[in-house]
Structures are given as structure tokens and as C-alpha cells.
């Protein structure tokens, strides 16, 4: 991979730092009057999700990371691995470990579109669509007529996620949910 110098560090650029692939979050030039310039850089470690802050001398460089983001749909799990398939017509399949799914395992739905981040052709991260439609599998009975009042209750969705929903929602209904905040949006 090519090396990238500090002045090429832009949000989203993928580089290697301490052996892990990272995505640049922000880069600020700090130039004392007449002295050596520095770049204060925030990077997200793609393996752990943690954000690091590092200072580099301007002109220093980091090796690029062979990171790609591909659109895939979720197929199934055999309990050990989760399988996704590319939607570009190649039908190429990738097996994803639990570690790459993290908390987002609860947003998996067959045939829904996900962004799978590959590093050296291994899946390291799965990002669910911002909004997903899921069926309510369990919730306490709704209150008749209560459609406008406030108040909420937990509901378990078909993917296993538990979200707070309005009191009028019933089992079997399909809901639109925001996966970034884990919150109910509307009936689908």
C-alpha cells in the first residue's frame, strides 16, 4: 500500500497505526510561529472502534491500510460465523466473526443490506442500514384507544433487539427502527 503524508490525512482515509487499520476522523495543523509544524490527528481504530488521538510531525507518513467497504446482504448464521453475500452481482460470500459484528448482531435480518468493512480481505466490521424494518415478536398487550398519549414499553423484535415502543404497538406488527440510536421511528 502507498504511504500517506500528514497533509493527505483527510476524514475517512484508511491508514495503519500500531498494527491496526484506522480511519482518520480529523486532522488539525498546529504551526507554532516559526517552528516545526505538527498535525494533531484523531483516528478510529477499526478493530476496536476506539478513537485515538495522536500527534505527528508534519510530513510524517503512515502506511495506507487495505480497507474496503462493500455492500452485502445478510444470509444466515451457523452459530460460529455469520455469512454475507456481495450485492454487486458477483455473489461472493464472506464469513464474519462475532467480534466484527459486536453489538450490531441484534440488527441482523436476512436479505437486508449491510456495509461490510474488509481489511486484507477479512471482514472486520459490519454496519447495519440506518433504518431497518423488523417484526415485534413479544410485547405486553397494547392499550386500546391509546394512540396519542405518551408512555412507552419494551418490545422484542425478530432480530433479538429490544426497543422502547409506544403503548399502542402490538405483537406481529412491523416497525421501522433507527439502528444508530436503537429507537422506534414508526410503524412500517
Amino acid at each position: 500500500m502507498a504511504n500517506h503524508s500528514t497533509n493527505e490525512f483527510k476524514g475517512g482515509l484508511k491508514v495503519m497505526l500500531d498494527g491496526d487499520p484506522c480511519s482518520i476522523v480529523s486532522n488539525e495543523l498546529v504551526k507554532p510561529g516559526k517552528g516545526q509544524a505538527f498535525n494533531r490527528v484523531k483516528l478510529r481504530n477499526l478493530m476496536t472502534g476506539r478513537v485515538w488521538e495522536r500527534t505527528f510531525k508534519s510530513g510524517d507518513s503512515l502506511e495506507g491500510a487495505d480497507v474496503m467497504e462493500l455492500e452485502m446482504e445478510y444470509l444466515y448464521t451457523d452459530g460460529d460465523m455469520w455469512y454475507f453475500m456481495q450485492t454487486d452481482g458477483s455473489f461472493e460470500q464472506y464469513a464474519v466473526e462475532k467480534r466484527a459484528l459486536g453489538d450490531d448482531e441484534k440488527w441482523l435480518k436476512e436479505q437486508a443490506p449491510y456495509t461490510v468493512t474488509l481489511w486484507n480481505d477479512n471482514a472486520i466490521q459490519v454496519t447495519p442500514p440506518n433504518f431497518i424494518e423488523l417484526e415485534v415478536t413479544q410485547t405486553d398487550p397494547g392499550l386500546k384507544g391509546d394512540t396519542a398519549q405518551g408512555g412507552s414499553k419494551p418490545a422484542t423484535l425478530s432480530s433479538g433487539a429490544v426497543v422502547n415502543v409506544p403503548l399502542f404497538i402490538n405483537e406481529g406488527e412491523v416497525l421501522k427502527v433507527d439502528t444508530r440510536t436503537g429507537s422506534y421511528v414508526s410503524r412500517a
Partner: protein, 350 residues
């Protein structure tokens, strides 16, 4: 990333209201100097000599001139030509000078920027510092700088390091200074092992001390760029090694310090003033030392402005000079998050 041919790519980076506000501030700058009988001058953007300063990257261009094909340098500041005017007897002068520094890209940097630089023959550094503060007070609105008439708060470089880092920057052992700079600057241990004292001091100044300078009492810690109040502060008595071409004097602790000041507002450096050294031999030696360091570091050498050396040899009047980052003052006055928002077409949208 947005491809360069998208529909909005032709548009300015500043909105029209900002450009009107910018024009009004420029008018105020000109009125300020007109009242004080300081002459506005325009000097070349392209010169036969460039800045040799090791940490400034000059842009240059090949041109066909009456003297033949030659490399001309885009100025990093208007200093050299303005000093040649001073040596020729111009008296007090100022310039709104488009200047260029390659690679300086960021929220508070743009490769091309407007430097307001002025020189005051016969004026001492303290008086110039007050004049600079007076100009900035005229440009920043009451809502941003409420203490318009209060005296400028002035800190010694040493005092700031004592107060915020509990070290004496003049005497702390280099090994300890490197570890402290690495720790406070988010660098792995050993990253600064080859770096000189001044680099470590610069790093601590930039990352620890500066961000806290120039805030109103209740505003500290707010995100920069937010509409909030600040106050103007000055830093003086820098280590002699950071004198550049300022004179030197001995401070109350017996250390040699540089006769220069910097002004800060809301954590941002706005101006840099010098009690100007007028020694031609010293200037030439500095140029040569810079180019020697450039060779050592593998940087391109820069053509030296021997006409400046000749002008100093002829005689530069005693006095002081200051450079102020005008775009930054406008950015703070208008509460904009990036410098690009106060420029019609910031690089690379140019």
C-alpha cells in the same frame, strides 16, 4: 469524497453577508492607519529571493523576465520588501499582503492568506504591542471582546510554563522536557528523542498553553469558533533561541530573552511583533545557516535576498514591526468555524 465536477464546486466558500462584513473590516483597518499617518504600500508578491526559514515552505515559479528565465518566489510574508522601503526612508508603512505558505492547510490555515504587516520606525516594542491591541479591539465586536478598553494582559513566557506545566522552560533538563512534551502532546515515548529543546517547547506551547490563552473568565473550555467572549492577552520574553531576527535582552531572572511579543485571543495566535534587528551581517549569516540546515534535512534551498542584506547594510532605522493574520481576526470577529468561510475562494476550492 465529492468529485470536483459537482454542481456546487464553482461556488464561493464564503457567503455574501460574510464578504460584505469582511469588506467593512478591511475599511476599518485602512481608516485606523490613515488616522495614524501610516502609509499603505504594495510590494511584490513575486520576488527574486524567498524566505529561507527552515519550517516555512515557499512556492516558486519559473518566469521569463527582462533578466532572462529565472525562478521567482512567492512571498511567505512581505517583510523583505517592506524593510527595503524602510531603508529607503519610507517612514511608517503597512501592507495588506497576500502571502503564501505551502502545505499549511487546516481550520486556521490556508496556503494563500492575507497578512497585515506594519513597521514603526522609532517606536518601541511595548508601544507597538498596545497599537496592535488597539487595532484588534477596533475589529472585534463588543459581543466577542467586551473588555474593549481594559488594559492588555501581558504574560512572560516563563510564567505561563510555571503556571500550567510547573516547569521552568529555561532550565528544565532536555530529557524531562521531551517526556513531558510526548505525554502532553499524545505522542509515543521516544518520538521526540532527536528533537531539540525548542521543538518540545513549541509543542507544549501549542498544545497545552495556547488553547487556554485569551478566554473570558467563564468561557474557558468551550469549543473554539463558538460565539463566545474572550480577552486579548500578550506573551513576551521568549527564549533567546526563538528570537529569529528580534533583538535580545536580559530578563529579571538573568536569562537572555527575545524582544518580541505574540498576541492571543480565544486560544488563537493573532500577531507576532519584533523589535527588529538591523544588522546586515547577522541577517546574511542567518540566511546561510537556514540553507545549511535545509540541506541537512533534505529540503530545497531557497534563493537568498541579497538586496535585503544590502539594504540593511545601507541602514534600517531602529524600530519595531508586527505581522497579523488578518483572516483569523475576521474569522473570530464573525464567529466562523473555519478560515475558508471568510475567504471568497479558499484553497483548494480556488
Amino acid at each position: 469524497m465529492r468529485p470536483p465536477h459537482t454542481e456546487s464546486a464553482w461556488q464561493p466558500t464564503a457567503d455574501m453577508a460574510t464578504l460584505h462584513a469582511r469588506a467593512r473590516l478591511m475599511t476599518r483597518v485602512r481608516a485606523f492607519f490613515a488616522e495614524r499617518n501610516v502609509l499603505e504600500v504594495e510590494t511584490p508578491v513575486l520576488g527574486q529571493g524567498g524566505s529561507t526559514d527552515v519550517h516555512l515552505a515557499s512556492l516558486s515559479s519559473l518566469a521569463h523576465t527582462a533578466a532572462g528565465r529565472q525562478r521567482l518566489w512567492l512571498r511567505t510574508s512581505p517583510e523583505f520588501h517592506m524593510k527595503r522601503l524602510l531603508a529607503a526612508g519610507s517612514g511608517p508603512i503597512y501592507q495588506l499582503a497576500k502571502s503564501f505558505r505551502d502545505g499549511e492547510v487546516g481550520r486556521r490555515h490556508n496556503i494563500e492568506f492575507t497578512m497585515l504587516e506594519w513597521y514603526r520606525p522609532g517606536m518601541g516594542l511595548a508601544a507597538l504591542m498596545e497599537e496592535t491591541a488597539a487595532l484588534i479591539r477596533k475589529l472585534l465586536p463588543e459581543s466577542v471582546l467586551p473588555d474593549g478598553q481594559t488594559p492588555l494582559r501581558c504574560y512572560a513566557y516563563r510564567e505561563l510554563f510555571y503556571d500550567q506545566l510547573e516547569i521552568d522552560p529555561f532550565s528544565v533538563p532536555l530529557v524531562r522536557l521531551r517526556r513531558l512534551a510526548e505525554e502532553r502532546g499524545s505522542m509515543p515515548e521516544g518520538a521526540l528523542d532527536d528533537e531539540p529543546r525548542d521543538t518540545c517547547l513549541d509543542l507544549l506551547m501549542s498544545f497545552v498553553i495556547e488553547p487556554n490563552l485569551g478566554w473570558g473568565d467563564a468561557e474557558q473550555g468551550k469549543a473554539p469558533g463558538e460565539k463566545c467572549q474572550g480577552k486579548l492577552v500578550a506573551v513576551v520574553d521568549y527564549p533567546a533561541s526563538q528570537a529569529a531576527l528580534a533583538r535580545r535582552h536580559v530578563d529579571a531572572y538573568g536569562d537572555e530573552v527575545a524582544s518580541r511579543f505574540e498576541l492571543y485571543f480565544q486560544g488563537v495566535e493573532l500577531a507576532n511583533g519584533y523589535d527588529e534587528l538591523t544588522d546586515a551581517a547577522e541577517q546574511q549569516a542567518r540566511f546561510e545557516a537556514d540553507n545549511a540546515e535545509r540541506r541537512e534535512l533534505g529540503f530545497d534551498e531557497v534563493d537568498v535576498d541579497m538586496r535585503l542584506v544590502a539594504a540593511l547594510d545601507h541602514g534600517l532605522p531602529e524600530g519595531s514591526g508586527v505581522a497579523l493574520g488578518l483572516d483569523r481576526v475576521i474569522q473570530l470577529a464573525l464567529g466562523k468555524y473555519t478560515l475558508a468561510e471568510v475567504m471568497a475562494f479558499a484553497t483548494p476550492a480556488c
